[in-house]
Amino acid sequence: MTRKWKSLIGIMLIGIMIAVVTAGCGGTKPQAKEILIGGNFEMTGGIANFGQSTANGVKLAFKEINSKGGIQGKQLKLVVADNKSEPSEAANAITKLITQDKVVAVLGPVASSNVLATVQIGKDNKTPILTATATNPKVTVGDDGKVREYVFRACFIDPFQGTVMANFAAKSLKAKTAAVYVDNSSDYSKGLAEIFEASFIKNGGKIVATEAFLQKDQDFKAALTKMKATNPDVIFIPAYYQEVGLIVKQARELGMNMPLLGTDGWDSPKLVEIAGAASLNNGFFSNHYSPEDKDPRIQKFVADYKKEYNQVPDALAALGYDAGLMIIDALKRANSTEPAKIKEALANTKNLQVVTGILTLDSKHNPVKSAAVIEMKNGKQLFKEKVNP
């Protein structure tokens, strides 16, 4: 092949690429019979499994309403844009959804950091953002302490779980004293520990010990021995499953048989692998929902989801579904597809029955709803009880 030919092929390739690419430029054209909702999800990248679960939940909710005839005769359509699990791509995706696809509201992203990259764009374009899963309190309240007008969420915020577990310890477990073992390298853990302590004291309990560890620590026995000496009724460990697994294991080895409490960071099959099924007995943690819950609403959702996607819905799928229900409810009450009216309606969400409970948005756009407490028994997650705020 001569140089000339090679160059020509090169130029042709560029031409083809540009042709392919511009062919896809049109964006999604809204039909008169459709309401377009954007889905800014982590479809690829580090937390793609979370993004896909959430998107699946939303799609299921939309499918159900569409089969019932949609909203005011219009079908709901989810336009998904991938944000590659990265904040700048999330900003890119939401800009595309709002300005190219002309969606009336945007669902997602999953991670708080990705949502934070999009809030300003939602505000600039006056389009509501509803995240199903971002638990960081700053998502709906800005640094200046003002509520972000256009941002809503369908899940409870991190500190809420601290209250839930404190109430659970004081009321259900009748604990009088508690120790707290906190992961000092995570904001999530520190925030939860503070709230737990405050609520537990408010319930008449006493915090007898507070110890700290760091992510990736391996040996926890020194701190555990210190805690053992104070003989607490319960130990609260708000952290992620990796360290929790080791802590639980070592605590049981030291003969500490009191109930161990945790939060949604515990929710992983890996926890059982690390700690061992027997050690985890008498362990409880809070989560958004439990597929084991006998509530008929939850059982119906689990069955429908299984039928559609052939897997048990995780907490993210349930929250995605709830976000779908919230936007459907808001569209119905707004009786309009204007983003400003949808925003008003979302802010006034009250007593909406969703899968994970009955949901009312407070003045900070955070839902007030129940959390599920899950008990670990022989390596299985059992639904223990629902705790209302």
């Binding site: 090679k6 560029i14 580090g46 800009t95 990259a117 809030v119 374009n125 995570s186």
Partner: protein, 320 residues
């Protein structure tokens, strides 16, 4: 005025004209916010690709830690404007200086390595920078640096991009640049000819890092947030892909690569399931047929078109 100066002036005029056209389209709202965002992103990516090309393409030192320098620029720039309330221009200069300084400090020991070893060392350095940032709670730690104002506009991005291209192009055409190229072609021969190879390697590395810092500060001041997840080694590979796709050792190649990949990525956002498939297929096809990159080490100029049309063989259409 000699011919070279005249040509520079002409291309500068061309750039101003291009700026005027795009700015005009933005003003009359033909280019919506989505394309505005992607044009700014293209400018930032061109800065990154061209500066990496100086290290990888022209000096021949295989570095894949560019995202690390970008992160330094992004965070330092944000600290300057948010915490210290300094003007944006100061933030950009500080970001460039800090990233450059870091490049210099890191370059001295690592550039003694070559080939695979250097690649691994720079990859590690990029990660070290990211993990360090992850653990500094002053800049937000794992939850990212929030509340950065959007100072970056198309004007800022465009003219800093032009500055980058201008500086690097002139550097390459200078005696320093020739020395860098000689290091790439044959390090031993270069040394035998009296070229201080370490000095030029470190110089290229420092300048490349400084421009990555500029790109970083533009980046964080456009997306409201600087987050460690934006500066993983995947970002380094993205930049590297642009450089290799366009052709190592071609500035216009890097520009084409950055333009093309950013554009493709933006358009395919509607098809998340297919994005990675199409993206990688394109790269495979391209690498099969043009292993030297779209432009090899040539530069786009009228000479190439002349050669294609008239078949005037000039051997090598080098236009350096």
């Amino acid at each position: 005025m000699n011919a070279v100066r005249k040509r520079d002036l002409l291309s500068l005029l061309g750039c101003v004209a291009l700026y005027a056209v795009i700015q005009g389209l933005i003003m009359v709202d033909i280019l919506g916010p989505f394309w505005q965002l992607n044009i700014v992103l293209i400018c930032i990516n061109i800065i990154l690709a061209v500066s990496l090309n100086l290290i990888n393409g022209f000096t021949g030192q295989f570095s894949i830690g560019h995202a690390g320098f970008m992160a330094v620029g992004a965070y330092l720039g944000a600290v300057m404007t948010v915490k210290l309330h300094l003007p944006f221009i100061v933030a950009i200069i500080a970001a460039a200086a800090a990233a450059g300084l870091l490049g210099f400090i890191i370059g001295l020991p690592t550039l003694r390595l070559s080939g695979d070893y250097l690649a691994i060392a720079t990859l590690g350095l990029g990660e070290i920078i990211r993990i360090t940032i992850l653990n500094i709670s002053y800049v937000g730690g794992a939850s990212g640096f929030m509340g950065i104002p959007r100072y970056t506009t198309f004007t800022w991005a465009f003219f800093l991009m032009i500055l980058t291209i201008f500086v690097i192009k002139n550097l390459i055409n200078s005696s320093h640049g020739r020395a860098c190229i000689s290091v790439r072609e044959n390090e031993i021969a270069a040394e035998a000819m009296g070229v201080d190879t370490t000095r030029y390697k470190v110089m290229a590395f420092t300048i490349g890092a400084a421009f990555a810092g500029i790109a970083g500060s533009l980046f964080s001041h456009y997306f409201y947030i600087a987050h460690p997840a934006s500066f993983t080694f995947m970002r380094s590979f993205d930049i590297l892909t642009m450089v290799v796709l366009g052709g190592l050792g071609s500035i216009t190649g890097s520009i084409t690569g950055a333009l093309l990949l950013t554009f493709i990525s933006a358009v395919l956002a509607s098809y998340p399931e297919w994005r990675m498939v199409i993206y990688s297929l394109m790269l495979i096809v391209l690498m099969l047929y043009r292993p030297q990159g779209l432009l090899g080490n040539h530069e786009i100029s009228l000479a190439i078109f002349k050669r294609l049309m008239g078949g005037v063989k000039s051997g090598n259409a080098q236009n350096k």
